[in-house]
């Protein structure tokens, strides 16, 4: 559509005009017009892959359309910006939620308000009470069941009193009672004048709620119904479209094949108990609306996420259910989630193809290239894989050719059972045909084939039998050749299965909260105990230890490590990592030896400028390498180390240049034997700790560290928070460097290097996790204090330097290992 954008017909609500979006090989949306007026529920229905989610994401600002305009409440939104969309009053509840699982309900609510610069409502508890949610506000989200999380996601969006509300499959994980509650909330919001876009599979639910209904298929709008006078069958027909032009390979349903795969009382996380069987030569489908346990069952078959029940292959039970054992027993599993669990993206095609080939590659564990090539030539000819060379990395191929490589793997092995998840996801039409033929061929050779697909037409065309799943169980078995409409109807009408009571979630959340609070404090308690024991022991062995000068010295020596550890902790909370701190400290000392010969105002001014410049330049350089160029953080900061260290050496090839002696005096001033600077350090750590748990910035920092995607979805850009983290880390290193300068009194270019490893040891001891989000400033400071105590005590105890170093290492591994075990226990307690 090239015509000028017409004046939106409605002033408020959300309006999409002429929106198109395509991905390589797929046109997700073409020239779509869609609007939703205030005070109406506009339902959007379509099959999996019809473009609904793309449409929602474009409206929400997650994606930028290739063409077309989006306007929210009369204002046009230029490029995709989540924050702008949310600020204009468009809130989204995602099917897989934008909640940070490690944070509490309350924190997730607060995060949502903070991210768009709205004041937090004074009483979040009261705000939430309006929605009558079956869990307390201080529960950790990960302790909630999937249904409760989805309800929370919707309630959070509604709590902003949005002008427009996008609900993406809000009832997918809800049981009937919660679904009913949600319908009530949706009606209330509509009566308050909210424009609600409602995406759902469940047509009965849509009939009860929707004022208008739009059907989307293959990225094109197939019609909008203004009233709820429509007939379910008509809508299903619109969703499914005319009989597909695809031809499925002819199938002769075998009636006599022996059962090759049998599963009894099978259960695991998110599914079961259920039983099913597949005969040799049979293709059996698994269908269901997204998220009803289909994916988990298939993985359970090869031992990933399987907890109970029995698997028999050709009548022989599988003893230890593990992927390698399952393969040996004859079950080959191939996933359509290629990037996550199927292909080895940087590896050549031939390696990807022969992933399961085993001894066919050569005798005695050898892989003969000649045989690999032969396999590749055979497979590419047989299945029409188009590639320039067997050594091409698989990431360079189209989705269809990748999937053919994936499904050609079992043909090189002749399994007894072939389990395929989403055989044609992201695959073009032509390659689909080849893939269907591959599956049919396998069945013709007597293999039992089990296929899960979210594309019902595919199941209808391919399968001899279809199991329909609903909430983890088999709700229906469709015998014999079936039709797409029949499958779709079987799950659009699927009634809810009663979920296990909500009380369980509440109890477990209480236990977890207690455990959670404990486990986050374990490092602090452990370090405090260690410090005390160490101090008492040293004091009992040495008369010098408890004297004022020694303690003052100990605290002074803690300063550099303390400041730099706080900085490192900050960046690690956001998921960052900085190895260049040692070099930054050295450079700071060198700079001080040039700019700070005395504490005169001019020198001070000059020095402060130099220090700030160092922190900004180093931090920004790291941020560019890591955030923009996506260089691995370790490699990036090693490179920075080299450059910064080199600059320090250039400026001061030999030790020289005096640093104002007054600086040393200033640092040792304080209360009794405690230096003032140390009090400052403690105050800073405590202030940061309080800020981390009470402040907006601290919350954002943790949210980004735990879950960058969830953070992005509420409008808090993770890349910015992380870049700031790297600058703060460099700033901490500069502060540490100033403390070192006060100790050395002279400019040397290598004093900082020795602080790198202790800095990491300190933050890890303090409970930081490299995955981000976890950690404590007080913990990091205690870690620094403990390491300095070791430093201080070893000469007093006549312990050799080596023993100190060894103790460092051992304590680090033991401490971090036990924290991880405690954390994992807690994770297990949640039953995730």
């Amino acid at each position: 559509m090239t015509t000028v954008v017409t004046q939106p017909m409605v002033e408020t609500g959300v309006v999409l005009r002429g929106v198109s979006k395509s991905y390589p090989g797929v046109k997700a949306l073409s020239d779509v017009d869609f609007d939703c007026r205030p005070g109406e529920v506009h339902a959007l229905v379509g099959e999996n892959g019809s473009g609904k989610s793309t449409l929602i994401k474009i409206a929400a600002g997650v994606l930028t359309p290739d063409a077309g305009t989006v306007s929210i409440a009369g204002q046009s939104v230029a490029r995709g910006s989540i924050k702008q969309a949310r600020k204009l009053g468009l809130m989204t509840a995602y099917q897989d939620t934008a909640l940070v699982a490690e944070l509490t309900v309350e924190e997730n609510l607060a995060l949502s308000f903070d991210a768009i610069d709205e004041p937090r409502p004074p009483d979040l508890r009261k705000l939430l009470r309006r929605f009558d949610l079956p869990f307390p506000i201080n529960a950790t989200v990960s302790a909630l069941g999937p249904g409760a999380r989805q309800l929370l996601e919707v309630a959070r969006a509604m709590s902003h009193q949005p002008k427009v509300l996008l609900l993406d499959e809000p009832t997918a994980a809800l049981d009937m009672r919660l679904a009913g509650h949600l319908e009530h909330l949706v009606r209330e919001a509509r009566n308050d004048g909210t424009a609600i876009v409602y995406v759902s599979h469940r047509l009965e639910e849509v009939r009860r709620l929707a004022d208008r209904l739009t059907v989307l298929r293959d990225g094109v709008i197939r019609g909008t119904h203004d009233t709820n006078t429509w007939d379910v069958d008509d809508i299903v027909e619109l969703m499914v479209g005319a009989p597909t032009e695809l031809e499925f390979p002819p199938r002769v349903t075998p009636t006599t094949g022996a059962v090759r795969l049998e599963v009894r009382d099978f259960a695991g996380a998110g599914y079961g108990p259920l039983s099913m069987s597949v005969r040799g030569g049979e293709i059996v489908g698994v269908a269901g609306a997204e998220g009803n346990g289909q994916r988990a069952v298939l993985r359970g078959l090869i031992g990933a996420g399987h907890e109970a029940g029995e698997i028999l292959v050709d009548g022989a039970p599988l003893r230890r259910n593990r992927p390698d054992k399952a393969l040996a027993a004859g079950i080959s599993f191939q996933s359509g989630d290629r990037a996550a669990e199927s292909i080895f993206a940087p590896l050549p095609l031939v390696d990807n193809l022969t992933a399961q080939s085993g001894s066919a590659m050569g005798p005695l564990g050898v892989a003969r290239l000649q045989r690999l090539r032969a396999m590749f030539v055979l497979a590419s000819r047989q299945f029409g894989i188009v590639a320039a060379s067997p050594f091409q990395p698989i990431s360079a191929l189209s989705g269809g050719n990748q999937q053919k490589i994936v499904l050609a793997r079992p043909t090189l092995r002749q399994p007894k059972v072939l389990v395929v998840d989403e055989p044609t996801q992201g695959v073009d039409a032509r390659a689909r045909m080849d893939i269907y033929r591959m599956l049919a061929d396998a069945a013709d050779h007597g293999v039992a084939v089990l296929v899960n697909s979210s594309d019902s037409s595919e199941l209808a065309g391919l399968c001899d039998r279809v199991y329909v799943m609903s909430r983890g169980r088999i709700s229906q078995e469709l015998e014999g050749p079936t039709t797409e409409a029949e499958i779709v109807r079987s799950f659009v009408s699927a009634a809810g299965v009663e979920e296990d009571g909500g009380g369980q979630a509440a109890v477990s959340s209480f236990v977890n909260r207690a455990l959670g609070g404990l486990s986050s404090r374990i490092p602090i308690v452990a370090l405090a105990v260690l410090c005390t024991l160490m101090a008492l022991y040293t004091g009992s062995q040495s008369d010098v230890f408890w004297t004022g000068p020694n303690l003052a010295n100990l605290l002074l020596l803690t300063l550099p490590l303390g400041f730099v550890a706080l900085g490192q902790q900050y960046t690690m909370l956001s998921g960052g990592f900085d190895l260049s701190i040692g070099a930054t400290m050295s450079l700071t000392v060198v700079a001080a030896s040039i700019t700070l010969p005395d504490l005169g105002p001019l020198s001070l001014l000059r020095s402060v400028g130099a220090f700030l410049l160092i922190a900004l330049v180093v931090g920004a350089f790291n941020a560019v390498l890591i955030g923009l160029l996506k260089v691995n953080a370790i490699v990036a900061t090693i490179a920075t180390t080299g450059i910064v260290q080199g600059v320090a050496i250039v400026l001061r090839p030999e030790p020289g240049g005096f640093i104002a002696p007054e600086l040393t005096t200033a640092f040792s001033q304080g209360v009794g034997f405690i230096p003032g600077a140390f009090l400052l350090l403690v105050a800073l750590a405590v202030a940061l700790e309080v800020w981390l748990h009470r402040g907006r910035g601290g919350l954002a920092l943790r949210a980004v560290g735990f879950d960058a995607q969830a953070s992005d979805r509420v409008g808090r850009r993770a890349v910015i928070v992380r870049s700031v983290g790297l600058v703060v880390c460099a700033f901490g290193a500069v502060l540490g460097g100033i403390c070192v300068a006060s100790l050395t009194g002279i400019g040397t270019n290598d004093v900082g290097g020795g602080y790198t490893l202790p800095c990491f040891a300190a933050v890890f001891l303090g409970g930081a996790a490299l995955s981000g989000g976890r950690g404590s400033f007080v913990g990091a400071l205690l870690g620094a204090l403990f390491l300095s105590l070791l430093d201080n005590a070893t000469p007093l105890l006549d312990v050799p330097n080596g023993a100190k170093q060894a103790a460092y290492g051992l304590i680090l591994i033991v401490a971090v290992g036990s924290y991880a075990v405690a954390e994992r226990r807690r994770g297990h307690g949640r039953g995730r």
Partner: protein, 353 residues
């Protein structure tokens, strides 16, 4: 283009050739500016030091291919040097000492494996702890200079001083070690699985590969390489002390990055690492002879690393938008193609339609 040429293009992608190119350019500059560096003695020193770095880097490469990182390299190098100096006194059974040294190196590396691969702790933390533990341990055990004389066994010194056409014998060891490594990684099934596990551990597991077993072998192999590097560097230096291994922690990572390896796990080039090590040592030597002080040398090395990783990253961006294994895979939501435009077709790709 013939099929052979096409295959070659993919088997030797540009990112693996970059370090060779850099080495070539550097050689040309050295010949023009500081030919002294290429005199017999200079070549001997550069090849000896490059060999030690290369052997240590081969070990690091195995760990990086698995998607982890090893910061404890230096400690294992120190232990190996310390072992041969401490026990390789005149009259000792040197082969036995060397064997014990290799065994200890393997044991330390397997300690890392236990925590990283079996207990699934972060490799940085684990190897940082191992670094302290082992470095401290060896200096208690043998003292800072390893023995009273502090001398490496004469046989090892003689071996390190030996050269063929001015190429140090150490370099021949490195080439042989590299050859064995390259053959293992390409000609054995377990070897081929190393890159697969590093590229996508979950996929490797689901495909039925014995992931922890392969990782065990890779860590053990890394221990052997580190130990050989330590034994040889003791011979090269003659009187090593506990600071001997220190540079190898960051230098191995630098060499691997310049050799075009991504740190997300996956394939790597043995030959590329060898050339990157030659490049780094020759660069250092030439700058030193030319009168550069330590500062600029360190800066230049840092800039070389930034240029290398930036170039590799940028070329990857141009090549494919996919960055797997760096992010935790999320459950696929419907309309999968919208959330993860998974793999963009390459220009070489001929569409089937």
């Amino acid at each position: 283009m013939s099929q052979f040429a096409t295959d070659l293009k993919y088997r030797l992608p540009a990112r693996y050739l970059a370090s060779w190119g850099a080495l070539g350019v550097l050689l040309a500059v050295v010949v023009a500016v500081v030919p002294v560096a290429l005199q017999p003695n200079g070549v001997r020193i550069v090849t000896a030091l490059a060999a030690v770095l290369a052997l240590a880097s081969f070990g690091q490469m195995l760990i990086v291919m698995l998607g982890a990182i090893d910061l404890s390299v230096s400690s294992i190098v120190i232990v190996a040097a310390g072992m041969v100096v401490h026990y390789g006194t005149p009259g000792a059974n040197l082969p036995l000492v060397i064997l014990a040294t290799l065994a200890l190196g393997v044991a330390i590396s397997l300690w890392n494996w236990l925590f990283i691969s079996v207990l699934r702790l972060n490799s940085i933390i684990v190897t940082l702890g191992t670094l302290g533990l082992v470095t401290g341990g060896i200096s208690i055990w043998t003292g800072v200079s390893f023995s009273e004389s502090g001398l490496a066994p004469q046989a090892i010194q003689d071996f390190s001083d030996f050269s063929v056409l001015n190429v140090s014998a150490c370099f021949l060891v490195a080439v042989a070690g590299g050859l064995i490594l390259a053959l293992t990684l390409s000609k054995t099934r377990a070897g081929r699985q190393v890159a697969a596990i590093g590229a996508n551990r979950r996929a490797a597991t689901l495909q039925g590969m014995r992931v922890t077993r392969v990782e065990f072998a890779a860590f053990a192999g890394a221990g052997v390489f580190y130990s050989v590097a330590g034994i040889l560097v003791a011979g090269v230096v003659g009187t090593p002390d506990v600071s001997i291994g220190e540079p190898y922690q960051l230098l191995t990572i630098t060499a691997i990055a310049i050799a075009g390896t991504t740190f997300n796990g996956g394939p790597a080039s043995v030959a590329g690492i060898l050339s990157a090590c030659l490049f780094l040592q020759l660069l250092d030597q030439a700058m030193e002879i030319h009168g550069f002080s330590a500062g600029p040398r360190v800066v230049v090395r840092g800039i070389a690393l930034v240029l290398a990783v930036a170039a590799i990253t940028l070329s990857q961006f141009a090549f494919s938008r996919l960055r797997p294994s760096s992010a935790v895979p999320r459950a696929l939501n419907e309309d999968n193609e919208s959330s993860a435009p998974s793999l963009t077709p390459d220009t070489h790709q001929k569409e089937t339609s």
